[in-house]
């Protein structure tokens, strides 16, 4: 009741308000229930973004895993109270970049690698596999990240620009180019 964090910044969008809410609960009381809730709301975005940078399912899974540990241990350092998803994805990005530095050379995901989780991944259809491998192999790094951030994480182009450090105009043109490429293939 005396929480200093809740107040007028709670945004109209209920989805992001509750991510915010989860973060403050984690920060204040290390609430695991809140972490679970946060995980369910954001996991697909975090994993897909990591995959789009790392192009390897193992590494993406590791990065996503580490990301949630960091969120759990340092939710206090989240200050803005306005764009929780952007904060989480920035953490993801930094972890991925660290992984990239550790990794000597690019590895490409193949369909075989996607089949390595057969029991948990029964939902993956043949079409899903094609889409993901096209995203990973046909698109350039920037294009793929932009497409994933927009389609999966539902971010606005302006937010993508902030997250990737590219100008908004570049994001827009890369996005439409990438979409054209995918249209041609799919």
């Amino acid at each position: 009741m005396f929480s200093l964090t809740s107040d007028r910044h709670i945004s109209a969008d209920s989805g992001s308000a509750s991510i915010d809410d989860c973060l403050s609960r984690i920060a204040l009381s290390k609430d695991k229930g809140a972490l679970e809730e946060l995980y369910r709301k954001t996991y697909t975005s975090v994993y897909s973004f990591a995959l789009s940078i790392l192009k390897n399912t193992h590494d993406a899974q590791d990065a996503a895993h580490d990301c949630y540990l960091i969120i759990f241990s340092s939710a206090e350092s989240y200050v803005s109270h306005k764009k929780p998803l952007a904060w989480i994805l920035t953490v993801t990005k930094n972890l991925c970049l660290k992984k990239l530095r550790e990794r000597a050379k690019d590895t490409y995901v193949t369909e075989n690698e996607l089949e390595m989780y057969p029991d948990k991944m029964s939902a993956v259809t043949a079409e899903d596999k094609i889409i993901i491998s096209e995203c990973l192999n046909t698109l350039s790094d920037n294009e793929r990240q932009i497409i994933v951030l927009h389609a999966v994480a539902g971010m606005k182009h302006r937010e993508i620009a902030e997250l990737t450090g590219l100008p908004v105009s570049t994001v827009l043109s890369k996005y439409s180019r990438a979409l054209k490429k995918l249209k041609k293939i799919l």
Binding site: L4, Y43, S48, S73, M121, I131, H150
Partner: protein, 434 residues
């Protein structure tokens, strides 16, 4: 396949492919818990202290009713919110005693300014002083960009404006440096509810959003979106250039335009591009304006029956766009070919040109569409092979047959109107296609 469908398909594919790692995350969290507590021991105990104080306040509230509430209110409730905008944007929350509860950076520049300073519990004056000092040190405030916006939000307007006046004086005094004098804009936020949508959308402070709204009331040529991209110094320059101060904004000092080329150079660049000299032209007007988030000088002048309008990039003196139009008020000193062209425009109701109304033969195209195209390309110094989407149309304008030639070179759109009779260029326009 539609864009939406593709987006949905991608979303679906990725969400199917994401493996579930919740269990391992949760178990790892428990394992690391020990370290986590150790690392943040200070924070923990502070939080515990706060909790104890909170419980104490709660007890007081129950026992002493209003008195207990006051203690909490005095120390922990946000009383005023002060935001500083330069380009770094920083929001400061203080309690009733004007002690800091929280300092938040609202953009990347703001984070750099705050660095690792911790203000909790210090007075608002010390904090603002330190922040402005850091902005000076980090080069956000200098002789090239000297404007600061201070916005105060307090339910009690009298108290808010008192704080506003005091901070304005203090910041003003700090910016009286040897190399430059600052310009301080200040305001009290009146209706923060209505501003929060804009702050969310454009990532700016409520203060900046209110300033932009006030500017738009005075100068409706701009859009909110364009102005949101500008720094406070650039907004201040626009206000200085239009010679107005928006309502509810108090302003001390004037914005620096030293980073820019200056009106004289902008004028010279425009005249040089038009192939004219200073003595040829009349009726100058130069304004600062913004075009797609870049600062431009808008230069207007007249010469030989035409009105020229140029937008010159204020940093690089590059020409952003220009146009030339026939000046309808122009009658004197015409060249013979001009006289012929002007005939119908300057017709009825004008006593000065009765001498010209001799022949009124029907206009006929004496030059071909291809010739018109060549005239336009030659004027733009563009080879036919470089130009894309060349379009030539015929049209009647003021009773005269003209060719309308349009083409695109890279990302620049050209539009010409060419007299089908004489081959004269009547009007042209060059625009950056976005």
């Amino acid at each position: 396949m539609k864009d939406n469908e593709i987006n949905n398909k991608i979303k679906e594919a990725f969400s199917h492919a994401a493996p579930d790692i919740l269990d391992s995350v949760l178990s790892d969290c428990s394992q690391k818990k020990g370290t986590v507590i150790y690392m943040t021991e200070n924070g923990k105990s502070k939080r515990r202290m706060r909790l104890i104080i909170g419980i104490a306040a709660c007890l007081l509230l129950l026992l002493g009713g209003f008195a207990g509430y006051r203690v909490y209110d005095l120390n922990y409730a946000v009383d005023s919110t002060v935001s500083l905008d330069v380009n770094p944007s920083i929001e400061i929350k203080v309690n009733q005693k004007e002690r800091i509860l929280d300092v938040t950076a609202l953009n990347e520049d703001g984070k750099k300014v705050i660095g690792d300073m911790d203000f909790k519990g210090s007075s608002i004056d010390v904090t603002v002083n330190a922040l402005i000092g850091s902005m000076l040190k980090n080069g956000y405030l200098n002789e090239l960009a000297n404007s600061v916006l201070i916005s105060v939000d307090n339910k009690n307007t009298a108290k808010g404006s008192q704080l506003q006046a005091r901070l304005t004086d203090e910041v003003g005094a700090m910016l009286q440096t040897e190399s430059f004098t600052g310009s301080v804009l200040s305001q009290t936020i009146s209706n923060s509810q209505s501003l929060s949508a804009a702050t969310e959308k454009y990532g700016i402070t409520e203060g900046k959003a209110q300033l932009i709204n006030e500017i738009l009331k005075k100068d409706s040529r701009h859009t909110f979106e364009d102005l949101a991209k500008l720094t406070i110094n650039e907004l201040n320059l626009l206000m200085n250039s239009g010679a107005y101060t928006p309502d509810n904004i108090s302003s001390v000092g004037s914005a620096s335009d030293k980073a820019y080329i200056g009106q004289e150079k902008a004028k010279a660049a425009a005249i040089a591009h038009a192939g004219l000299s200073d003595s040829d032209v009349s009726y100058f007007e130069t304004d600062m304006d913004t075009e797609n988030g870049i600062m431009v000088y808008e230069v207007e002048f007249k010469c030989g029956g035409y009105e020229y309008e140029y937008d010159i990039n204020a940093l690089t003196s590059e020409i952003v766009q220009y146009s030339r139009e026939k000046d309808d008020d122009y009658f004197s000193v015409q060249t013979p070919s001009d006289t012929q062209n002007q005939q119908s425009t300057s017709g009825v109701g004008n006593s000065s040109d009765t001498s010209q109304s001799q022949n009124t033969s029907l206009p006929q195209a004496k030059i071909s569409a291809d010739e018109a195209k060549e005239i336009a390309l030659a004027h733009a110094s563009v080879a036919a092979s470089e130009a894309a989407y060349i379009k030539v149309d015929t049209d009647y304008d003021d009773g005269r047959l003209i060719y309308e030639v349009e083409f695109v070179v890279k990302s620049i759109e050209y539009e010409y109107e060419i007299d089908a009779d004489s081959g004269n260029i009547l009007d042209f326009d060059r625009e950056i296609d976005d």
